[in-house]
Amino acid sequence: MSYIIDRRLNTKNKSAVNRQRFLRRYRAQIHKAVSDAVGERSIKDMDRGGKISIPTKDIGEPVIYHGSGGRSTRVLPGNKHFSEGDLIPRPEGGGGEGGSKASNTGEGEDDFSFTISQEEFLNFMFEGLELPNLVKRQLTGVEEFKQVRAGIANEGTPGKINIVRSLRSANMRRIALTGKKRKRLAELEATLEALSPGERTGPGYDALLDEIAKLRKAIAATPWLDTFDLKYNLHIKQPIPRSKAVMFCIMDVSGSMDQATKDIAKRFFILLYLFLQRNYEKTEVVFIRHHTIAKEVDEDEFFHSRETGGTVVSSSLRLMHEIITDRYSPSEWNIYGAQASDGDNWDDDSGNCKELMLNNVLPNCQHYSYIEITPRSHQSLWHTYEEVQATCPDRFAMQHIVTAADIYPVFRELFHKRVA
């Protein structure tokens, strides 16, 4: 009478398509919500998924219904003290329709909130961004291969035996080895057939029978399958060409960078780091921080430790150049640089920077971006870099950031996909 079915093992993501449809349709709004979130979140939470709110009015499904007004009647439960004919003053603005619906859950009723995963969050965050000028592709020959078929071989593992080819070659061998004998056998048999009964005696006849028997035996003794018949499928590894890229992150940690500025710089680099990690798995990142001297550090130290001192920007560029010469040959690597600073520098150092930049760094780089984080007016470094930009406009980009809210737009500006 009743069927009881266990459906728990059925797929549970029946709504996945509809969910995707929703995200697709409201891409723009979600994008904006994600951008806002990037500005507001703490550095640690930057890459988490989580709550996203978009305005309800944008996603409404309109239907026709009665507005307030006219004459409406309503039956309500729980009368305590009213009698027939009582007059109740109309509540402010409520129009008698159950009063206002202020929300006390912290989410305005004007917002539609939902949760997206980290994956989706990052997708929205880095949608439409890419590293510019990623062109050098090297046959590394070591990192990744793909298996491709390369015909048939005589040797191989039993698992790769090609049965059809093996049997075909056995057949060929058998035909080749027994061909003469078969021909002879056929002749002898024809002779035997031609003999009249009277001739079927004597040593000649016996010799004939003998030879036929010998031939038959020899043919039967030819092996049906021999070891050298076996054929194997051959697979070989082919290296996959891939672009090798390295990103140099250069941050000023000198005394003039106050905590807020450093925080902004770190946020910028975190974004950059997430972006690279996500979209370019094989991209290497080199972290350089500098005050008067530059130092290559690891990720943890770069983002979390503190240091102070004066500022010599050229030290970092020099270190970058050294590292390039040492480890990242420009003929093989796509090299990128990103630098953040408050614009402070020793006065006589900016000239060095320009020289280093134009002669050593930029010729080896695919792209170099500089962000200056300062609410004050620009100093010598900015002006020097402006000259650099004028010389190499396609390789050098610079942007100015004042508050944390500027980071994401500037980041997008620097890395947006360029249409060829």
């Binding site: 079915i5 499904e61 039956v75 439960p77 729980g78 027939e84 539609f112």
Partner: protein, 499 residues
């Protein structure tokens, strides 16, 4: 001494089967006529999927279901809401979902409530019998889903989405209120679909033929009959058949949305009865199980605890008040009918001479079969229930300064109160009455609709948005007039008229 069916709170499939069998036998003793049951145990994630599909086991893809899903998921995962214990689908066999998180006691409650309560209502109530076809609905939904996917492949997701958006906006105006639809099976549907495509297009072409037939036909234009000859309440149907520019696949999509709207139409009109009936029967059946020693005291406590929270009614001035709880009203009325039959008071004999002292089961089944919320309340709401719920009614007239209390639960107010409450469940009052009035066939092909006002109530602002959708489906200018006593009170145009 009979052994209880179960003593643990952990459920398993054997226990569910035994429990279903025991409840099923009882239901037969009470003469409940049901479709066969298909009880499906699902996880909470699947329950959220079922939520998002708004009660359809198979739905076509649309972003609005994704929106529903996201918001359910968001509030559920943050603990802002619990999920319903069950969802039941009006089909044959009747599909009921049980959540795996439920305790055994809850599973028993759900089986009694959904598999025998709702199920027998679906099978017995005249609205469901008339408007829905439980045998073929699953098939039809499969057809609809496949058809729409095919359209998406052929014409692109955006195109299809646009049409569905527009149809959804007009979904409440896609039902026939008086005509009985012809039952359909999926196979038939597919066969007929191709023929219909061709036929429809021909008809539409005929209607929009621009070449004048003859000289004197032109002169007749003014005296020519209005089209449509009578106002049409089923706007989606009208568009499907007559919209000038739609392609045949677009007409088919309108038809699909319309069919689904029609399928849900009875549910929207029988909420109080349906829930009341199901609550009444789970209460009656489980109490009977207890009386026969088939369930334990512990079970009854757990059951009553959730039963009372389901049928709780908050007073009007409570901060969480959100209208009359249909479970409360329905359950109270069903229990009251039984009371009137078994132990009538003088008041009952006065108000319900027909049923006082009659067989209660027969009376209830009669009520279940032949009424919808509006008429059920009008017929069976007794003074006792109004007193118990302390009902009162208010009139909010924008011509008056104050809200007036029109009636309360006293001798003079009962009938008035009952009438007003019934009116509150009348879909005709609740939804603005909008009908297709005329089409300018010879001229600019504009479509004119009339909104016949009810108690001078205006349309909410969303009407502008909906008109845009209507305009998309019609393809030419759309005009909507709010009419009160033959006088135009408001007008809406899409595209908007220049000032």
């Amino acid at each position: 001494m009979t052994q209880p069916l179960f003593t643990t709170s952990e459920w398993n499939f054997d226990l569910i089967r035994d429990c279903d069998r025991a409840i099923g036998e009882l239901a037969r003793e009470f003469r409940l006529d049901t479709y066969p049951n298909q009880i499906e145990v699902i996880s909470s994630e699947q329950m959220m999927d079922a939520y998002a599909a708004v009660g359809m086991p198979i739905g076509y893809h649309h972003w609005s279901y994704g929106k529903q899903f996201l918001s359910t998921e968001h509030s559920y995962k943050r603990g802002q809401m619990g999920l319903a214990y069950e969802i039941v689908i009006n089909s044959n066999p009747c599909i009921a979902y049980l959540m795996e998180e439920n305790t055994m006691a809850m599973q028993a409650l759900v089986i009694a409530h959904a598999c025998y309560g709702h199920n027998s209502f679906f099978k017995g109530n005249y609205l469901f019998k008339t408007w829905t076809d439980a045998d073929s609905i699953i098939d039809y939904l499969v057809f609809a889903k496949n058809y729409i996917s095919k359209c998406e492949e052929r014409y692109g997701i955006d195109q299809v989405e646009e049409i569905i958006d527009s149809c959804h906006a007009l979904m409440n105006y896609g039902v026939d209120r008086y005509k009985r639809p012809y039952p359909i099976s999926a196979q038939e549907e597919e066969q007929r679909q191709a023929e219909r495509e061709e036929y429809l297009q021909r008809q539409v072409n005929d209607l929009w033929r621009t070449i004048p037939k003859s000289e004197h036909a032109e002169g007749d234009a003014k005296t020519a009959q209005r089209f449509p000859s009578e106002p049409q309440e089923n706007i989606l149907y009208f568009l499907e058949k007559n919209s000038p520019l739609l392609e045949s696949w677009q007409r088919e999509i309108i038809r699909i949305v319309r069919k689904i709207a029609q399928y849900f139409y009875p549910q929207r009109q029988t909420q109080v009865m349906n829930e009341g009936w199901a609550c009444f029967w789970h209460y009656t059946l489980l109490n009977e199980l207890y009386a026969r020693g088939l369930v334990t005291d512990g079970f009854m406590l757990e059951f009553l605890q959730s039963h009372t929270s389901v049928i709780a009614q908050l007073p009007y001035d409570h901060p969480y008040f959100s209208g009359i709880n249909p479970y409360t009203l329905g359950f109270a009325m069903m229990m009251d009918i039984r009371r009137i039959c078994e132990n009538p008071t003088a008041e009952d004999r006065d108000w319900f001479p027909d049923i006082a002292g009659k067989d209660w089961n027969e009376t209830l089944q009669f009520a279940m079969r032949n009424f919808k919320d509006e008429s059920f309340i009008l017929q069976f709401l007794s003074p006792k229930v109004m007193r118990d719920l302390k009902l009162f009614s208010i009139i909010d007239d924008d011509n008056e300064d104050n809200i007036e209390v029109a009636a309360i639960h006293n001798e003079g107010g009962f009938r008035k109160l009952r009438e007003m409450l019934a009116g509150q469940y009348n879909l005709g009052n609740r939804e603005p009455n909008i009908q297709v009035y005329s089409v300018n066939i010879r001229g600019d092909r504009s479509l004119t609709l009339h909104h016949t006002m009810h108690d001078r109530k205006p349309l909410a602002d969303s009407v502008h948005e909906v008109l845009r959708h209507l305009h998309r489906l019609w393809g030419f200018d759309v005009h909507l007039y709010s009419v009160d006593n033959g006088e135009i009170k408001a007008e809406y145009h899409c595209p908007p008229k220049p000032e």
